[in-house]
């Protein structure tokens, strides 16, 4: 009987193609949109979190200029290499300090040229900013001290000047200076805000100051705290030390600022939290809409189905037999819709995450929830009216309006 009922249910599904398709579509939309939304939301969150981790949550930045007044004010005296040394030496919660100075310059190799940012710094830069050396090596002590014109390229600069070719040992021109390539950094890709994080090159600070900048100023200090939890303390200690070094009394507004990546990452954390909540909300709504769609289709056909049940009862079907058929029908459609919905949702989110350079994470719990919800709605609204009808006298089911 189960087998006959199964066949009968499948025949009914085929017979009522339109109704079956609409029901399935409701479930596909419900399940698909929830999965797409949540997967995208999780992808975005993962991307932002990744980036923060890449930047280093223990990162602090010291720069001249008063706090919260737009770009660093030019009237503030620049930082010096001694500031970096003092911080590294005297602040206990600080691990490494990378003094940097930057400016943009045209770099030329053969007939290729590229406008990029040139940064002078020390080997600490790679550690603090978490740039791995992918090819070649970082600076030797002799190169750093002697201010030799060598450079480590960002992935973008390497690609623009050398394409697939080997850049190591090549002599490129950076502004007016000839400079030999000793290394290449591993790429980080685009930041959340669309910046290319790999479009720059690094040379020893002394070389940059002497040959490119023509002064001994330091633009920023990248500082790493000894651990993620120590950034607040490090910030306070650095501020105190810098006030002292720059002779700024306690009540006075400092002419430098210390930025804490932890703060930034916390802010971003709230943003991504809100994003996830928002997408979750949209997902819930689409699930509801899909559910209402299914419900509508099911309810619209209740009269016809009730009559059908009346006919079946009248010719000798038992209530349970009719119910089993309707249950099989509802389960088949819900399962089919759920499967298609999962495939649809995952495809959409896969394509979207690829296009937006976000990680694609499949979330089994959401798939299960979406599927369960839609299947429940499908089965409930296909099955419950049938259950009611199967308990009527056949004549009442036949007369249903």
């Amino acid at each position: 009987m189960i087998w006959a009922t199964l066949l009968m249910a499948l025949r009914e599904i085929r017979r009522n193609t339109m109704r079956s398709m609409l029901t399935t579509l409701g479930i596909v939309i419900g399940v698909g949109s929830v999965i797409a939304m949540v997967t995208l939301g999780r992808g975005a969150t993962a991307k932002i979190t990744n980036e923060i981790a890449n930047m280093g949550t223990n990162l602090l930045i010291v720069m001249p200029g008063a706090e919260r007044r737009g770009p660093a004010s030019t009237t503030a005296p620049p930082l010096k290499i001694e500031d970096a040394k003092a911080i590294e030496r005297e602040v206990s919660s600080v691990d490494k300090v990378a003094p940097t100075a930057s400016r943009s310059a045209l770099v030329v190799y053969g007939n290729k040229n590229w406008n990029t940012s040139v940064t002078g710094s020390t080997n600490e830069f790679f550690a603090v900013r978490r740039f791995a050396i992918e090819l070649g090596q970082s600076f030797s002590d002799a190169q750093l001290l002697g201010g030799q014109p060598v450079c480590v390229l960002g992935a973008t600069v390497r690609k623009e000047l050398f394409g697939q070719g080997d850049p190591l040992g090549a002599a490129i021109r950076v502004g007016a200076v000839s400079c030999s390539v000793i290394g290449v950094m591993a790429p980080k890709g685009q930041s959340t805000f669309g910046q290319d994080q790999d479009d720059f090159l690094v040379m020893p600070l002394a070389a940059f100051q002497r040959r490119i900048a023509g002064n001994y100023d330091v633009g920023m200090l990248f500082v790493s705290a000894i651990s993620d939890g120590m950034t607040t303390k490090a910030k306070q200690q650095i501020e105190a030390l810098m006030r002292e070094r720059r002779r700024i009394a306690l009540g006075q507004v400092p002419d430098f600022r210390v930025q804490d990546m932890k703060e930034i990452s916390d802010t971003l954390g709230t943003v991504t939290g809100a994003l996830t909540a928002l997408l979750g909300g949209i997902a819930a709504v689409s699930l509801l809409v899909g559910g209402i769609g299914i419900m509508n289709i099911m309810l619209v056909s209740v009269t016809e189905r009730t009559r059908e049940i009346g006919v079946r009862l009248a010719i000798g079907a038992r209530g349970a037999e009719v119910l089993l058929q309707f249950l099989v029908e509802a389960v088949t459609l819900s399962t089919l819709g759920g499967m298609l919905g999962i495939a649809f949702g995952l495809t959409i989110s896969f394509v979207a995450t690829r296009m937006m350079h976000m990680p694609f994470r499949v979330l089994p719990d959401i798939i299960v929830i979406a599927f369960a919800f839609s299947a429940t709605v499908g089965v409930a609204f296909g099955f419950l009216p049938a259950r009611k009808a199967s308990k009527l006298n056949p004549i009442d089911a036949l007369r249903h309006e």
Partner: protein, 238 residues
């Protein structure tokens, strides 16, 4: 031939003061008002009466499709009012065939599939089912329309599909509500001959509602309804 000759067997059907009322208070309508009727095996009963006199209601009660408000319905001595829904379903499945006044075929379902339906619930295998359904369709002259859906059939053709569906199971009792209502006179005669044949040769008891005295002539007995109860009940001589 009749159960009267075998008094030890309970009559096939016995209605004892059956009422069927709809609505309440002033709006109360009595579709059946104390109808009593006894039908024995092998009878061919024509039920007649004015429109609204309770013929269909009576037939629905006999077919266990509806339950009386008051009174008793005994099927082979069993009080139908005491049966569960499932027992009623089995009774319909195994003993009864019903032709509705409004056909009640399944939409978007071919004629032959409609006719097969009762056999599915009788657990008849696929091939045997198809064979018997085709034979029933042949008997009502519709074999050539087997694969048509009700929407593609005329009213008379739908009516014949409904008849085929009722007789395909070879029921003990066939209940037909105006089975010739939509047919032309040639078809009417054909269907009546089929019913007489089922009655005579296969011994199927038939209760048929009809408005037409011509059709009632084919029966062995004529029961007149008036205002929900039996007004007259007479044998029809061949």
């Amino acid at each position: 031939m009749t159960a009267a000759a075998r008094p030890e067997v309970a009559p096939l059907i016995e209605l004892r003061g059956v009422w069927k009322s709809y609505g309440r208070g002033d709006a109360e309508v009595h579709a059946l008002a104390g109808a009593s009727l006894r039908i024995d095996d092998g009878e061919f009963v024509a039920v007649m009466g004015a429109s609204g006199s309770g013929k269909s209601t009576c037939l629905n009660v006999l077919g266990c499709l509806d339950q009386p408000t008051r009174g008793q319905y005994l099927f082979r001595g069993v009080d139908v009012g005491k049966l569960t829904l499932d027992q009623l379903a089995l009774l319909r499945r195994n003993y009864l065939g019903f032709v509705f006044q409004g056909f009640n075929l399944l939409a978007r379902t071919t004629a032959v599939e409609n006719v097969e339906l009762p056999l599915i619930y009788r657990r008849v295998g696929h091939a045997e089912r198809r064979r018997r359904a085709m034979k029933a369709l042949e008997e009502v002259g519709l074999a050539s329309r087997a694969t048509h859906t009700p929407a593609e059939l005329s009213g008379g053709q739908q009516q014949r599909v409904a008849i085929a569906r009722a007789i395909v199971t070879d029921p003990q009792m066939l209940l037909a509500d105006e089975p010739t209502g939509n047919l032309d006179s040639a078809r009417k005669v054909e269907i009546m001959r089929l019913l007489v044949d089922l009655n005579r040769r296969r011994g199927i008891t038939i209760v048929m509602v009809t408005h037409e005295p011509d059709m009632a002539e084919y029966a062995t007995r004529m029961v007149h309804f008036r205002d929900g109860s039996v007004e007259s009940d007479e044998a029809v001589g061949p």
